[in-house]
């Protein structure tokens, strides 16, 4: 009869490269074995503790929070949390040790134990050879809260070791306790654990030698075996300690930062005061009664749920950004509310949408609201620093992201420790593809020349399968902030991020949700930078003040433009797939844009929701609803589920889910591909729907659609926020195309298109583009009046590849004093070094001073800094030399090499006659062709995409002097002509034209590489683009 046991020393896979089992596996196993408690004691980290807490609740086995640490130049300890104050001390110790070291490491010093440590128990794991010294120190520090850990793993002589350890304990007057030093849940993980040890020591398994454990005993062993090894009183001691540890993570209490509410106000009162103060700003003509009513309703709901401080915190950040002129836009479940609109957190007037606040902030779903705020991508850092400064580093930190092993990374690491050569490791990783969590199928491996049945590969694949999904390292979330009233390190340990001046808490987003911590996402969005530049330029050139919120809504020319798919450069609906959808969907109002943004996503595409929606919208199919109740849910999307929110509502309306359960469904939807767990919902949904009188077929179809949604399902709240930016960018492109192009290029890199493509699009819209010129260009691209309202776009020096901003600023300053007289004047007054001069000459920017680029390069090379002694002495006159004049082809190549675009003829216009000779049509001539015509076109390959949703189809975009041609290459052809497809710069496609709903594709039948024609333009230069 065994006495029972609690494991007090156990690592999960959050002790990277040591722990070989997940918390869930550990808890399930410990539960099966009849353990009475399980401590998770990851090495100097609590990153995995929330997951352990979840696993503990699911299995009903008690969790003891703890951590294994090695004191620098000192003993190894297991610290166990007895109560809340012990937890806080542990967080503090881990924070101290982690903040002292670089990312991923820690250094815990003896002096760290000088502070109070009550509530923290310690197990001393003595090193070989046994010495009393560390025990004496620890006894001083921990007093009666110290035990000596006896760990027996069937080593050379366990009996002798047991006696020695007990002797040591007795000599120090310490109690001894049995411990397992558990690294895996079951013996079967021995191989994976060996691999991790080898990884940790940067060696192969075969070479790791004594770094590997001699056997697989470090797992959760059956009680009977433990009873064989340990005397009963050592096992009993584990239970005694377990009983003492009463701390539960549920006891943590988070407090919102207090400074967001001024003295003398309650949070409720202050939120109301702010809203009232801002109402006239949003509604100068007075607020409509209906909106007022919504506002009251929202404020009441916020007060009821106690979320005032959350809104006030977000307001505080947004308020700062506005003060700095940084454009921002909130999105997320709570963002599209009147409160957020009034506070300026979002620019989206909720009266423009059908969205209801309560849908996002629900009474039953007791979960913190979620607002993400996007800021201009170039200025987000200012916002981050503001948050750090306002709340202090001890109260604000970024959240972590636990990066997990995907298949490629896992197979790499496993293959490496099994000693495979680098080329084979790469080949294996390539077989996996990116981001998948599945080991590659045998046929894929055979294709790559591997034998999946060989024992070695079998080992590699089995271990890879075990490793996939394991956490790999903690990195920082791009913008998730946690801010609290109390110091953060009393809630969760804080550590250094890879970037300087950044600190990161050890929990990720899901962990925070579980524990109820406030999180604000401060994200970066390139389009906001571009829009802010647009507004600045509009103010400067037009004297007009525009904001996202005050742009004229429902503008017909703008929607006409969108319907033509004339959307190069705008937000979200600029990709090829989006552009193909626009002429079919023909958005006419704001909500159409919300749908457009959400519909061209892997979720709706895989769930087969796109075509039903289109058919219904184009009145080719009747709009029906399974029931009146569901009509309310699906009316706005014509009966087709498109948004996450609709799926949740459906579950509530049709299958009697509560709000909380519906939220569970949402989470499972996001995670089922990796973890499964959607099956219970299938039963539950089907049963509920049958009860409410829906058919089995309907329930099945809905379930399949939910699965298709998977992790890609797009929430309506985000789509609405995005659609607003889409509308703003479209309006600007439609009414201020020069300003829009200028702002886009100055915000680059961002978006889908290169500056060259944006400029070509602008030229097709008859915008005059002017070349880079040292007499006129700024660093940024700028606009120059042409006459009338027209503006010409002057390329900025930023377009000159490799040119530095500092040089550009000095140049502009020197020019502001007086225009440059000649090349020497420019170089000397602007302080340009040889490199900068050469770049300007090659870019053709010296045209006004020195003639063509060859001449310019010749002249800048002769400029020498004047010594003070010779000031005023004319440099020696040179006889003029005869340099060749660049040909059109040479200029073209030089333009592309230097400024990435050309203002001269498009390369294809130079080749047009030869292409005509080959029977190739231009994209312009293609406009006259009809559906089903056999045509041949040639163009520069500007895009090759093989989306995962399109089953092996490659989409190629060809560009010529008139525009773009979209080519579809089916898998069979792509494989047959792979080399041509992958390797061509100038591609000729012969195929059939397909036209439907204003969308035109060329279905390729044969491909031909015409790149040599390009090289014929200029034999010297091979570095075209």
């Amino acid at each position: 009869m065994s006495v029972g046991y609690a494991e007090l020393h156990c690592l999960s896979n959050f002790t990277f490269q040591r722990g070989a089992s997940s918390a869930r596996e550990l808890f399930e196993r410990a539960h099966q074995q009849g353990y009475q408690a399980l401590a998770i004691t990851d090495e100097c980290t609590l990153a995995g503790i929330v997951r352990a807490w979840q696993a503990a609740r699911e299995t009903g086995l008690k969790l003891i929070v703890g951590s294994e640490v090695r004191v620098h130049d000192g003993p190894r300890l297991v610290l166990l949390v007895e109560n809340l104050s012990g937890y806080q001390h542990l967080c503090r110790l881990i924070t101290l040790a982690r903040r002292r070291a670089k990312k991923g490491e820690y250094q815990l010093l003896r002096e760290d134990f000088a502070g109070p440590l009550h509530g923290l128990l310690a197990l001393w794991v003595p090193d070989e050879p046994l010495q009393a010294g560390p025990g004496l120190w620890l006894r001083e520090v921990f007093g009666e809260r110290l035990w000596l850990a006896v760990q027996l793993h069937r080593g050379a002589d366990d009996q002798q070791r047991l006696q020695q350890l007990q002797g040591l304990a007795a000599s120090l007057n310490l109690r001894a306790v049995a411990c397992g030093d558990v690294h895996m849940h079951a013996r079967g993980r021995r191989a994976l654990q060996d691999c991790m040890s080898a990884l940790r020591h940067h060696s192969t398994v075969a070479g790791a030698g004594q770094h590997l454990f001699a056997n697989g005993e470090r797992h959760l062993r059956p009680l009977a075996q433990l009873a064989e090894l340990y005397p009963a009183h050592l096992l009993e001691a584990t239970l005694e300690i377990a009983r003492r540890c009463t701390f539960d993570l549920g006891q943590l209490r988070y407090q919102y930062p207090r400074e967001v509410v001024p003295e003398g106000y309650t949070p409720t009162g202050w939120l109301r005061t702010l809203c009232e103060r801002q109402v006239p700003w949003r509604w100068p003509g007075g607020i409509e009664p209906a909106v007022r009513q919504t506002l009251e309703h929202e404020l009441a709901l916020i007060a009821e749920l106690g979320y005032e401080s959350y809104f006030l915190t977000v307001y505080d950040i947004v308020h700062f950004a506005r003060g700095q002129g940084i454009l921002c836009q909130g999105r997320g479940s709570a963002a599209n509310s009147v409160v957020c609109f009034v506070l300026g957190i979002t620019e989206l007037d909720p009266t423009r949408t059908h969205l209801l606040f309560e849908r996002f902030l629900s009474r039953e779903r007791d979960e913190p609201p979620d607002i993400d705020v996007d800021f201009e991508h170039e200025r987000r850092e200012e916002v981050l620093q503001y948050v750090f400064n306002r709340y202090g580093r001890h109260r604000a930190a970024l959240t972590a992201v636990a990066s997990t092993y995907h298949a490629a990374g896992a197979v790499r690491d496993i293959a490496r420790v099994l000693g495979l050569p680098p080329d084979q490791i790469n080949a294996l990783a390539d077989c996996c593809g990116r981001w998948t969590d599945r080991i590659p199928p045998p046929e894929r491996l055979r294709e790559a020349g591997f034998d999946p049945d060989s024992p070695l590969l079998h080992r590699v694949l089995t271990l890879t399968g075990e490793l996939i999904g394991f956490p790999r390292h903690l990195s920082q979330h791009p913008g998730g902030f946690v801010i609290s009233e109390q110091p953060l390190d009393t809630l969760v340990p804080v550590e250094n991020a890879a970037m300087d001046e950044r600190t990161v808490i050890q929990w990720d987003k899901d962990d925070l949700d579980m524990v109820g911590l406030l999180k604000v996402d401060i994200l970066a969005l390139g389009m906001l930078s571009a829009l802010r530049r647009c507004f600045d330029l509009v103010r400067y050139h037009r004297g007009r003040e525009l904001t996202i919120a005050t742009l004229p809504p429902d503008d017909v020319p703008t929607y006409d433009m969108i319907g033509r798919a004339d959307t190069v450069g705008v937000f979200q609906i600029e990709s090829r797939a989006q552009m193909a959808m626009l002429p079919r969907l023909k958005p006419r109002e704001f909500y159409d844009l919300v749908i457009e943004v959400a519909i061209v996503r892997p979720g709706p595409i895989q769930g087969d929701m796109v075509h039903p929606y289109l058919r219904r919208r184009n009145k080719q199919e009747q709009v029906t609803y399974p029931s009146d109740a569901l009509k309310k849910v699906f009316e706005r999307t014509l009966g087709v589920p498109l948004f996450q929110e609709q799926v949740m509502e459906l579950a509530m309306v049709a299958a009697d889910y509560t709000a909380g359960e519906a939220d569970q469904l949402r989470r499972s939807m996001a995670a089922w591909k990796r973890h499964g767990g959607l099956e219970p919902h299938r039963e539950r949904l089907t049963r509920g729907m049958l009860n409410n009188g829906y058919s089995v077929e309907f329930a099945e179809r809905i379930f399949e659609q939910i699965k298709g949604f998977g992790s890609y399902g797009f929430p309506e709240s985000h789509a609405a926020s995005f659609a607003l930016l889409t509308y703003a960018s479209c309006w600007l492109k439609c009414h201020e195309p020069a300003i829009f192009a200028c702002a886009l290029i100055n915000s680059w890199p961002m978006g889908f298109y290169s500056p060259d493509q944006i400029l070509q699009d602008a030229r097709r819209h008859r915008i005059q583009i002017r070349p880079v010129d040292v007499q006129h260009s700024q660093w940024d691209c700028s606009l120059e009046p042409v006459g009338g309202d027209e503006l010409a776009l002057r390329l900025g020096l930023r377009q000159v590849r490799g040119f530095r901003q500092d040089d550009a600023l000095r140049l502009a300053q020197a020019r502001a004093q007086r225009a440059f007289g000649d090349v020497a004047d420019l170089c000397l007054r602007a302080g340009l070094d040889a490199r900068a001069r050469a770049l300007l000459a090659d870019a053709g920017a010296l045209g006004a001073l020195a003639g063509h680029r060859y001449q310019a390069r010749w002249e800048v090379a002769a400029v020498q800094a004047q010594l003070p002694l010779f000031a005023g002495v004319e440099p020696p006159r040179e006889a003029p030399v005869n340099l060749p004049v660049p040909s059109v082809g040479e200029d073209l190549f030089a333009d592309y090499a230097s400024v990435g675009t050309t203002l001269g003829p498009h390369p294809l216009s130079l080749l047009r006659r030869r292409l005509n000779g080959l029977g190739c049509r231009s994209s312009q001539a293609l406009e006259g062709a009809e559906h089903g015509d056999a045509v041949s076109v040639a163009g520069l390959v500007t895009g090759r995409q093989r989306p995962g949703t399109a089953s092996g189809v490659t989409f190629v975009t060809l560009e010529d002097e008139f525009g773009m041609v979209n080519v579809v290459v089916w898998r069979e052809l792509a494989e047959r002509q792979r080399r041509v497809l992958v390797g061509s710069q100038l591609l000729r496609v012969m195929g059939t034209l397909e036209c439907a709903d204003g969308v035109r594709h060329l279905i390729a039948k044969r491909l031909e590489d015409l790149s040599p024609l390009l090289h014929g333009l200029d034999v010297r230069s091979r570095d075209f683009r």
Partner: protein, 472 residues
Amino acid sequence: MLWACILLPQLALDSVLRGRDDPQAPLVLLSGPAQRRVLQAVNPAARALGLRAGQSLSTAQALASSFTCVEHDPAAVEQLQQLLAAWAYQFSSQVSLHYPRTVLLEVESSLGLFGPWPLFEARLRKELGELGLRHRIVLASNPVAARMLANAHDGLALNDAQATRAALAQMPVDRIGLPVEAATALSRMGLRDLGQVLGLPRDTLARRFAASVQVHLDRLLGLRPMALACYRPPDRFEARLELNFDVESHQALLFPLRRLIADLAAFLASRDGGVQRFTLHLEHARGVATPVVVGLLAAEREAGMLFELARGRLEQLSLPAPVRSVRLVADDLPAFVPQPGELFNARPQQQQGWEQLRERLRARLGDESVRAVQAFADHRPECAWQAAGGAPPLARAPGGPPRPGWLLAEPQALAPEGLRLLAGPERIESGWWDGGDVRRDYYLVETPAGQRGWAYRPLGEGGPLWLQGWFA
């Protein structure tokens, strides 16, 4: 003077292909770090598959699947280059490896022997072809010009400075060995060939370009000499001693041997090196000479010791025929690292050093009989010891539980009678990665005779204990 440039554009690839029986099969050379493997060179068959030098391996694998990958080995290429220099040395005393993948040789002085040039060139090409090396050959009036012209020509023969200059004028500016910046700058000024550059006033160029550019151009035109490091054949020791009469006994060979070895030692001292291996060829009146190889674990140069070793080897030998002459050849001449002489050496003079003893044992018993033992970190006892072939120092066994000093070649079942288990079980589970996974419980046992042994029983099995080793 006239210089011939032999450019070997595919030297690295050829160095691999010449050793393969299927040079026509697609093959690529790889280089670069593991994360970014790049095709260094491709053979024509691989080129036909669309593979190109500079491609990443993953691109190449996307294009084709059936090609052989060989790791680029710079050392092998270097060795081949040395071999070529030695080959060229027979034609000229001025051979230079100044440029990579290039052998330059002065040929004017050799034309009398091997010429005229067309004949000479044909011979060079024939022999290069036999060596399996693709090549280009250019003759010009100075070595720099010959090298640069070879970038664009093959078979060009320019017999004087004027013709050389005319040919150079046609060369593109980026093919004449100028620094990249200078070549780029020139081409960005619209100047494509050297002729255009030479047409410009010298002072305008001097104002715009670094002095080194002018120097290079002058060397190219032969206006300024270039100091080339010339190839020198490697050091090697060979000496031969004719005996006055046919010798049939070892004893009589010792005297000439001592002389030869003294010469060798003197040679070694003069070059401050040692010898790792040398061969005595005992030449007979008829038939093949009998070789006696003397190998050492470390480089040595002390005459007495070398003699002792050679004598040891010689004495094992039974002479197949009378010896008429002795030749000593030593190729393996690494640097000699002397023993630090200790000021207060406690070791009596007459005692032999460990190294000498080891060499004598090896000489007497044969190389196979004297082995170093190496400890190897592996939990499996049978893998923890390995005989070391070369001369690594005896690694100390890492600390850990006591292990027997003598392992049995094969474990033996132990009779259970009278056996005492002193300690255990110690569990060892390891070795899954090479298919030799063991899972055993080990015990320290004592036989009735009082011998202590180390024995195991496979996990989860009954049956006897298996003895794996004895404690000394």
